[in-house]
Symmetry: C2
C-alpha cells in the first residue's frame, strides 16, 4: 500500500484537507470551519487529518509568517494565534513529524511539482488576492529562506512615499498590485469624478468601489475601467520586473483570486513588463502563466512539503 | 599534484588573474590591461591564463549580463563587446570547458566559499560601487537563474517616478544606493544651498561633489554630510529590506568600493533596515557584514565557479 500524503490549507474561515495519490492527484477532500483559539485550532487540524486517514505524512499550509520549525509567528487571518508552535503540538499529538509552511510557499510547491510550472527549475509564484503572497523555486529547489519567510513579496517597497500599508510602512507592492490595490486605484480614480460606469456598478458610491466592479465594467468595454486595469497591470509588472532582476526566473505563475480574471490583466501586465524590464532586448522574458490548481494549490502543496524539506 | 584553479576578473581597465591553492587561498596573481576589441580581449585572457599555468580549470568573471553558456550580452565596461561568445572561444582555444559568469555572482561565490559568508546557506551579496551588483546563495546553492542573470539587483525599481537611470527606466535602486547615488544625493542637497563643507572639499562647485567628499566631511563630523550619509543609508536599507522580503537571507555581504568606508554607513543602514523591515519584531534580522576578499573577490569566485556549475 502506498503512503497517504495529506495536506491541509488553513484559511481565515475554513480548513481544506486533501489526500493525494502517488501522482499527486487529489483523491479525497474535506473541509472544516477554522475555529477561534489555539486549542480548538489544533483539535480541528488533528481531527481533519484523522478523518482523511492520516498515517505518517501531514503538511499544513498557513497564511502569514511561519517558521521552518512550524511556529506561526503571526497570521493575518488567525488574529488570536501568535508565536504558536502548531508544528510541535501536532507532531506530538500524531506521533510523526508534521511539516508546516506558509500557504503561498505551499502553493508554489504544488504548481511546481504537479501544476503549471512542472519541470521548471527557476520559478516565482505570485498569489494576487487581498494581499500578495509568493513562493520561490530556484536552482531546482523550493527556497524557504533562513527562517521560512521567503516570498513575502507583497511587502517589497515600490514607492517609499507611497500609500500607507497596514504593516506600518509605505508603498508596499500589495497596496497597488493586489485585489485591494485594484479597488484602491479605482476609488482614487472615481473620487476624481471619473469612472461613472464603475461607480454605478458599485451602487453609486465611489467609496464602495470594489475590484469586481472594475472587472465588470472593463468586460463591458468601459474605457475608464480599462484604464484602471492598465494602471493596475503596470503595478503588477513593476513587481514582476523587480523579481526578475533579483532572481531571473524562467516563469511566473500567477495565482490567487485575481488569477480567475487573468485574461483581463495579462495583456497590460505583459506590455508593462516589457516596458519596465531592465535590458529587455538582451534576454528571453519569463513566461507568465496562470496557476492550474486553483483553490486547492495550498493544500496540495502542504501535502508535498513533507517530501521537499 | 593538485589542480591549478585559475580565475580571471575582467574590469574596465585591467584583468586580474589569480591561482588558488586547495584551500582557496590566492598563491599567485597577475594583471593585464583590458584591451579594446574582441580579438585582443580573447588573446589577453588566454595569454594571462597560460602565464598563470592553466591546465584544465579556468573561470572568468565579467561585469554585465553574461549567460550561463558564456555569452557576454552586454557589459557596461566593455562597450565594444556585445553578444560575444567568450566562453566558447576560450574553451576552443584552451581545449577544456571555461566557465564564465557575472562578476558580482563570482564575488558572491567567493565570499560564500572562502570569505565572509563561509558556511551560510542563505546569503545575498551586494556590491556597492558605481552601480550595484549582486549574487544570491539560497538553499545552500549559488543561484544563477534561467539565463545567468540572477542578481541584477541594482535595477530593482524603488521609486517608479524617481530619478532617470541610464538603463532607460526611472527610480532604479542604484540611482540612490551606489557610489554615484551617494554623489547624486549630495549634489541635490548642495544645490539647495547646503553642504558647505562638502562643496568646499569638492573645490567649490556643487556639481563636482563626489561620494569621497561627503565621506571626508562626515569623518570631520560635519552634520550636513552626516545627514546625507543617513539618507544614503535609508536607500541602501530599502533595497536590503526588499531583498529580505523576497529571499529571507541569514546574511548580507556588502562589497564594492563603498564597503571600504563601511564603518560610516553601517549604523544608518542598520537603523533604517529595522525601521523599514516588514514585521521586524517577529524575526531574527539578517546579519550585515562586509566582504572580506576585497578586490580579489571576483577573480577568486571565477576560479571557484568551475566547481559550482
Amino acid at each position: 500500500m502506498s503512503r497517504r500524503r495529506i495536506g491541509i490549507d488553513v484559511g481565515g474561515t475554513k480548513c481544506l484537507g486533501v489526500v493525494l495519490d502517488d501522482a499527486g492527484v487529489v483523491i479525497e477532500e474535506q473541509r472544516r470551519p477554522t475555529p477561534p483559539g489555539t486549542e480548538a485550532f489544533v483539535d480541528t487540524l488533528a481531527e481533519l487529518a484523522t478523518a482523511l486517514g492520516v498515517t505518517d505524512s501531514l503538511g499544513i499550509g498557513v497564511p502569514g509568517m511561519v517558521t521552518r520549525s512550524g511556529v506561526i509567528k503571526a497570521s493575518p487571518n488567525l488574529i488570536d494565534i501568535t508565536d504558536f508552535e502548531v508544528g510541535r503540538m501536532l507532531s506530538e499529538r500524531l506521533g510523526f513529524l508534521v511539516e508546516v509552511g506558509n500557504d503561498a510557499t505551499c502553493a508554489a510547491a504544488a504548481e511546481w511539482q504537479v501544476g503549471a510550472a512542472r519541470g521548471a527549475t527557476e520559478m516565482v509564484m505570485v498569489t494576487l488576492g487581498t494581499g500578495i503572497g509568493g513562493g520561490v523555486i530556484a536552482g531546482g529547489q523550493l527556497i524557504r529562506g533562513a527562517n521560512g519567510f521567503t516570498g513575502e513579496i507583497g511587502h517589497m517597497v515600490v514607492d517609499p512615499e507611497g500609500l500607507p500599508c497596514p504593516c506600518g510602512r509605505r508603498g508596499c507592492w500589495e497596496r497597488y498590485a493586489s485585489g485591494s490595490g485594484l479597488a484602491q486605484l479605482a476609488r482614487v480614480a472615481a473620487i476624481g469624478k471619473r469612472l461613472r460606469r464603475v461607480v454605478q456598478l458599485a451602487g453609486g458610491d465611489p467609496d464602495n468601489v470594489r475590484g469586481e466592479n472594475v472587472q465588470a465594467a472593463a468586460r463591458e468595454g468601459d474605457v475608464e475601467a480599462l484604464n484602471v486595469i492598465d494602471l493596475f497591470g503596470r503595478w503588477v509588472a513593476l513587481g514582476l520586473v523587480n523579481l526578475t532582476n533579483v532572481l531571473d526566473p524562467q516563469m511566473f505563475v500567477l495565482g490567487g483570486g485575481l488569477a480567475a480574471s487573468g485574461d483581463l490583466y495579462l495583456g497590460p501586465i505583459q506590455k508593462w513588463f516589457t516596458e519596465l524590464l531592465y535590458a529587455p532586448d538582451l534576454r528571453p522574458h519569463p513566461q507568465l502563466v496562470f496557476a492550474s490548481l486553483g483553490e486547492r494549490a495550498g493544500a496540495v502543496g502542504a501535502a508535498l512539503m513533507t517530501e521537499l524539506r
